[in-house]
Structure formats: C-alpha cells, structure tokens
C-alpha cells in the first residue's frame, strides 16, 4: 500500500518511540500524504502495521483536520479564513477562487488536481490573505495568483 520510503518513515517513528501508539500520528500523516486519504482500507492497514485496533486508529484520525476519510485531489489548496485574512479580504478571494475552480469548499476539481479547503489561521498572517498549496505557504493571494498556481 505504501512506498518503501513511507514505510521506512513509519517504522523509524515506531522504533524511536516507547510504544506503537506514539507512531500513530506520524503514520496517519505519512499515509495521508501518499494515499491522499485515510479511509477504511488505510485504517485497517495502519492498525495492522502498528498492532492497534482499527477503532483506535479511526478515533484518532477523525480528530485531525488534515487527515481525510475520502481522497483529496492531487494537491490541496487551503485558503485561510482566519481573522487577519478576513480583515484583508479573504472572503472575496474565496468566492472568486470557488468560481474560478468551479468547486465548492471541500470539493475537488473535475480533473482531480485540486481540493479546495477553507482553514483557520495557518500562522502566516503577514501574508494575508494567505493560502497553502499542500505544505507551501503563499500570499497575499488574489484570484489570479491562485489561477496561476492551479495551472502549474
């Protein structure tokens, strides 16, 4: 299910920590990155790998916003709706981006390239309105910056 590299990452976390449970967060992150979701199959896989019950894995997975139960697009575009970004016109940008990509919040573009999310403050308020493309910070964004980014 996972690449050798990802498996190695999880196993390294597991070897370093006192119990398998501590490696769970790293496992969830790694699986999400590779599989773009942590659905039932992934949950069963992680549970097996770490020797935990699937219920435990699912319970923890559901707590975290970056772990999704259904697949995201190739990339995740997260627009910040935090207060500082709000003060800098984030709502307008979000409306334009929705129109531009033709998706609602939470949706994925028809070509499967981008999932659009609205997120709370990402800790880059000096770039308000800020956004993230996967793990990369961008901003201040306007609809045309996003247009350029999504055409990459």
């Amino acid at each position: 299910m996972l690449s050798k590299e990802a498996l190695r990452e999880i196993e390294a976390a597991r070897a370093e920590e006192e119990s398998a449970r501590h490696a769970l967060l790293t496992a969830l992150r790694t699986v999400q990155r590779e599989r773009r979701q942590v659905g039932p199959e992934e949950i069963a896989y992680i549970a097996d790998l770490l020797g935990l019950s699937p219920a435990v894995v699912q319970g923890v997975a559901r707590f975290y916003d970056q772990i999704t139960e259904t697949p995201t697009g190739q990339h995740v575009l997260s627009l910040c709706r935090g207060i500082s970004c709000y003060l800098c016109g984030a709502d307008d940008v979000a409306a334009e981006v929705r129109q531009l990509l033709g998706v609602e919040t939470g949706g994925t573009t028809a070509d499967g390239q981008f999932t659009l999310r609205l997120v709370e403050c990402v800790g880059a308020c000096d770039r308000a309105p800020a956004a993230m493309v996967d793990d990369r910070f961008v901003g201040p964004v306007q609809a045309d910056t996003i247009h350029a980014l999504t055409k990459l």
């Binding site: 967060l25 707590f63 975290y64 500082s84 403050c121 800790g123 308020c125 000096d126 990369r136």
Partner: protein, 455 residues
C-alpha cells in the same frame, strides 16, 4: 530597537551551523553544561523570564517544580503548535534561526534533567519542520546534542513531531495527549504536567520563544536580560502584527515599548491612512482594546493587565475604522466553535451557540435579547471548563459586545418585542471538531438542541 532573539534573522546562512556558531550559537548551552542543573534553573529564575506562550508563567519556577526520583524519566516538550489566530512569531523564529530554538530546548532539557525532548509543531508547519530537522541533523553530527553533548557526559535526544491540524494541540495537556498518539483531549489538572505529564512522567511544556530567551540568558547572563524591559516584564517580546496595517510582520520590541509607537512605526500605521478602531494585543483569546484604551499602553504584561487584557502570545491584530465588528466577531467565534475539542459541555455547546446566535443576528433574524443571551452563554462557559479554550472563547465575545455595543444593537430587530415572530432555522449551532458530518457518530443528542426551546 532591542534585538535579543532577532539579531541574526536577516542572514539566510544563519540556518547553517557554521554561520550560527560564528554568531555565538550554543555558547549558552555550553555555559549551562558547565553548571549543575539547579544553577541553570536559578539563573533563569533570576532573569525574570516569563512564558511567551500566552499565560506568562515564570519559566524558572516552572522548571523548579520538577522533582523526579532517581532514574525516573523527565520530558521537555517544546510547544511549536502556534495556532492562536494572529500569531506567527514562532514560525518566523524557527525558520530564520533554528539553532537558537534547538539551543533553548537543550538548555531547558538539561536544567530539568530530561534526556528526551520533543518539539511539537503544527502540521501546517511541515516545511519549517524540514528546516529545523536539517539544523538538528547538523547539531547531532557536530555532537552538540545527542549522546554526550559537547563531551559533557550529558545525553539528549531531540525529536520533532508534526501535528495534523487541531488548535487544541497547543494547549499543554492536549499537546501531551497528541504526542502520546491520542485524540488531543486536554487533561484535568491537577495533577499538573510537572507531576504527571507525558507518559505520566514529570514534564515541562514551554513555548518556542520562551526557550529561545533561555538560550540568550545562559549565554549573556540573567542580569543582561533583566536590564531589558520593565519591572515585571523582563526582556523583549516578539510581536506578530497583522490585519489592517501597512507593514504586517514579526518585530522584536523591548518590553515596555509604547503600543501606539509600535503601531505607527514598526507596523507602518493603519493601512491606507485609515483610523484605528481597535487592537487585539495578544491573539484572539484576549480582550480587544479600543483605540482610546490602547493609546496610553505599553507592550508588557502589567500594562496590558491594567487595561483588562493580556499580552498573550503577542499576536497583535489591528482593526481599522471600516471594520464591521459583528462580522469580525463572528469569524472569531466560528474559530472557537470549530476548534472546541468537545470534551466538556459548557465549551462544546457554548462555543457553538455563540457562533450560531451571532450568525442569526447577522442574518437579520436576531431576537431582542440576543446580546444578553450571548453574554450569558459566555458567563456559563467561563471558569467551568477543563482547559483554557473555553475561557478564551468568551473574551472576544464579551469585549467586542461591551466595547462596540452600538454596532451590535443595530442588528437587533426593530419591532416591539411582543410582535416579533422569530423563526427557527431548524438546525442547532454549527458543530465543531466533535460533530462535523464525518464525526456524526460521536455526537451527543444535546448538540442538536432545540434552537428555540432552550432560548
């Protein structure tokens, strides 16, 4: 401008060990290692350093609470979760001077007798974690940290852990839970982490900036640190300023720096020459100040406290005269409703209701007593929750309504009370972390609550 932590941040090469060493990196750690641990704690206590994560708790005192039995493990956790809206100083510091942060971590770990430290970073900081991991790799190779740090006989393992998107992981016991691989439900205190923390062992949780200050204190002495700032607020503070200003960013100021001068000079003034309406001095969890209230204040714990607010995380958010305060407050209230972990009732229910009542007010569907209702819901949260998020959620609601009341009153229905027919939306408050559609199964009946009956 006083420069203690940001001295080297403009040099991109500062991330590399060789450059960092030339600017004095790890001299503080070396100094610490030459002293018995309790003297390091004493030095930090003497410096007057207070926690920069929000609460301002004296750092040396926190370290002195650790009394471990011989061969009992002790843990140091560096809090780099930084999810308080408007706060981005740790982001900047780790990115620009990762070795300073690692040095602080190493000093604190040594002082409390920990051989394992974790740096817990919010998931969104994955790219910054890479910078930090690279710096850690260099420090390990140079045998500065790791086994037998700088030939002192002291062993220290430092591990970087990334979160996965939940504000509550910044709360110290939420952080511990998350690190243990659990849902980040905060723990009831007592017992405090100093007694039963990570894995139930004695644990200290400190903010990134706090630890960076500790590194400077050990390198330059408690006196030098104490010479900066005011009586109750020693040293400097990183201020991340954003919102309606010309030059948003992270600035370091000496404690006691005049607030208005900071806004005018460092922050470049209110954008487009507009008037100042209000400023939140330390992240959304502290009460907002009106322009008038802000005018005489200085940036330090005691001045902020005298005005009924707090320095908090130093996440300063500026509102200009064009801001519609009820709309802005809704945005903040929605944040808390979304981030409430759902563990305790007053916060889980109350944050949802506050957002919901605000939303109906803004939709023109408010009821005559909605402002009182909002304040009452707040009163019923405050002081009745497991962690500080509940109290935090009340501060913006209460202070915005008190200080900008006419704007809220303008949203109330004009009709006479008796003739108003308020329509039910047919759905309760928007639910948070505990009740998004995917988490439906976790949801208790009460969350849905009858929107009319209870109110």
């Amino acid at each position: 401008m006083a420069q203690l932590l940001t001295r080297n941040v403009l040099d991109p090469a500062q991330r590399e060990l060789q450059t960092a060493l030339r600017s004095g990196a790890y001299l503080g750690f070396k100094q610490a290692l030459s002293l018995p641990a309790h003297e390091v704690v004493a030095e930090i206590e003497a410096s007057g350093l207070r926690g920069r994560g929000g609460a301002g708790f004296p750092t040396g005192r926190k370290w002195s609470f650790i009394h471990a039995a011989l061969d009992q493990p002790v843990y140091l956790l560096c809090n780099a979760d930084e999810s308080e809206p408007g706060t981005f100083k740790d982001h900047y510091l780790i990115e620009r001077d990762p070795h300073l942060v690692l040095e602080g971590v190493a000093i604190a770990a040594y002082a409390i007798g920990a051989h394992q430290a974790y740096i817990y970073m919010r998931g969104e900081y994955a790219s910054i974690a890479e910078t930090l991991a690279r710096a850690l790799g260099e420090a390990l190779d140079a045998q500065i940290v790791g086994p037998n740090c700088m030939n002192s006989g002291y062993d220290l393992r430092i591990t970087i852990q990334l979160g996965a998107g939940a504000y509550i992981c910044g709360e110290e016991t939420g952080l511990i839970q998350s690190l243990e691989g659990r849902r980040a439900y905060p723990r009831v205190r007592p017992p405090f982490p100093a007694v039963h923390g990570f894995l139930q062992e004695p644990t200290v949780v400190n903010n990134v900036e706090t630890l960076a200050c500790a590194a400077r204190i050990m390198a330059e002495g408690a006196e030098a640190f104490k010479d900066l700032g005011t009586k109750q607020s020693a040293g400097t503070k990183l201020i991340s300023v954003s919102g309606a200003v010309e030059r948003p960013g992270v600035y370091e100021v000496e404690m006691g720096h005049p607030l208005m001068e900071f806004l005018a000079h460092e922050a470049g003034g209110v954008r487009r020459g507009r008037g100042l309406k209000g400023v939140i001095p330390g992240g959304t969890s502290v009460p907002i100040l009106t322009a008038e209230e802000a005018a005489p204040l200085t940036i330090d714990y005691e001045s902020m406290q005298s005005a009924g607010t707090m320095l908090g995380s130093g996440g300063m958010i500026v509102f200009d005269e064009d801001t519609r305060m009820p709309h802005a407050l809704l945005r903040i209230a929605e944040f808390y409703a979304h981030e409430s972990c759902g563990e305790c009732t007053p916060c889980r229910e109350g944050t949802g209701w506050m957002a919901w009542v605000l939303r109906r007010l803004l939709a023109g569907e408010g009821r005559p007593d909605d402002l009182e209702l909002l304040l009452r819901v707040g009163d019923n949260i405050e002081g009745r929750t497991i962690c500080g998020l509940g109290d935090a959620s009340v501060q913006p609601v209460r202070s915005f309504i008190q200080k900008f009341r006419p704007e809220f009153e303008a949203l109330l229905p004009k009709e006479e009370q008796g003739t108003l027919a308020w329509q039910s939306h047919g759905h309760g408050p928007r639910s948070g972390r505990f009740g998004s559609p995917a988490k439906e199964a976790m949801r208790s009946q009460a969350v849905d609550g009858p929107p009319t009956a209870a109110l």
